[in-house]
Symmetry: C2
Subunit: 326 residues, 2 copies
Amino acid sequence: MEKGGLSVTQAAAVARVIVAGERDACKSHGIYRIEGVLRTLKAGKVQGAAEPYVVPGAKPTIVRVNAAHGFSNPAFELGAPLLAERAKQIGIATLVINDCTHFAALWPEIEALTELGLAAMALCPNYSTVAPAGGTHPLLGTNPFAFGWPRPGRTPYVFDFATSMVARGEIELHRRAGKPLLLGWAIDGGGAPTTDPEAALAGALLPFGGHKGSAISTMIELLGGILIGDLTSNESLDHLGTTTLSPSHGELIIAFSPDAFSSGRDGDPFARAEALFEAIAGQGARLPSQRRFDARAKAESEGIALSSAEVELLNRLLDKGLDAVA
Amino acid sequence: MEKGGLSVTQAAAVARVIVAGERDACKSHGIYRIEGVLRTLKAGKVQGAAEPYVVPGAKPTIVRVNAAHGFSNPAFELGAPLLAERAKQIGIATLVINDCTHFAALWPEIEALTELGLAAMALCPNYSTVAPAGGTHPLLGTNPFAFGWPRPGRTPYVFDFATSMVARGEIELHRRAGKPLLLGWAIDGGGAPTTDPEAALAGALLPFGGHKGSAISTMIELLGGILIGDLTSNESLDHLGTTTLSPSHGELIIAFSPDAFSSGRDGDPFARAEALFEAIAGQGARLPSQRRFDARAKAESEGIALSSAEVELLNRLLDKGLDAVA
């Protein structure tokens, strides 16, 4: 990524989340993303040498970091320690990231905060690919919603999911494989339910959970876009003009101090949460992210295996930098 | 309710949400609830003369109100102005209600905050009636999740829904009508999907949206129970020993100041939100709560109509107080 023109600040923070993705067998957020990062840079839609900065003058519960039109990742790394310190001091605090290019999963950020003993929620828009429930056209993004709770000495309770039924990439995979979609994933350009990937790509994805998921996705547009004075999914798509590059928008992260909130009440919140997790896992239900954590344990003992095609990709990018991407 | 032994403080706050329910044609939170209120009082599971109080010493972002084992509603009314003032001062603030009996919808609370120009999120556990996705037994509650955004001069953007596919009352209505359930609403006592209401009542409800809804419901146990040092749905059921009375637990309400969060950024957040709402409604999708607001407009011009059976119920309760309930 440095070869392509990213500063060390940008490249290192982006590399950390890409390595975390590979480590956890999240291929969709792994090294495959490097090309997209370079493509967005080449298109002039991200500032490769941006230096994120803390915006002065925000209210005491708000740590506001401006990504200076660089990637969200170095902005998060700058703001996270300030957010954690603030939440521990005053109970709840927020990290607002503005003017960033965003392509990463939210769980690396959630986990960085749970490691500091905080519960955390993160959300952001994307670009318009999802119709609101009952609607006919793309308006909402796949708007991820993530939450975590610390488990001292263990991997945390973490979920991080798209508020669409499936990711747009899933539709594309079905198209390439010539496989029909499940009903309920998407609608065609006329707003009618479809199982045809081509028709779905010309139409819209659907939110998970019907009108409830649609309402949550709308909440994410409001909190992760409008509240923080940054772009909605619709505005982000207008701004970018394509869904082939990483979108520009903001992000909202909320950190809660369990120590502060449970102060003066009976019971240790971390021990009580363990009882809840045991009751879930004890009846055969999986805790979210368990597959990721299993892959992580394997990678930590055996290393991360790349295919020869992946190694070739890395070598080509290392050799040619921006010239390697369209 | 005073006849039954509730103090004016308790009765008035409870009456306000019950009237709001009737006004909005939310019969499930209307006068039908009065019997349940009195039944819970008669069983000694709520303190009818409780005086909620602000707990001193909380961190600056936390307004903590102890309901003193009364209903949540007067505790909310005590804490809401303090929460709103705090959120406007510092950006984000929370209202923690502890030691309350809870039976009300969350939208009256959300709307009280949107009327003050704040965005708000509210959540609380319930008692265990819902199996986690992939599980076999009731553990989670129907755990409501509510959010609102102010629309100056108009009814707000508000959603308030159970994180189960349907409410337990819906299963009971199907049982009485001899109608099968939809597949996906519930499982039987052995954890297998069922459409039989009797089997479902002996089994568990299912969360909305599969593992995503299940994760959100678990988040609500963590934030609305364990974080704030109050009961989870499982503990609440243990404490009460039945699902026929109103449950005891806490509640978490988070208020966001759009003015504070958008400060220094381009665009007016309220005007920008209107553009989003227009884009949703403009493609034929309904904004949440619209049916409620339509009913409200009707009630405000025509009054609230009660059936003769409902009037008889009210007269019987007025005449006999606690003796009228089992």
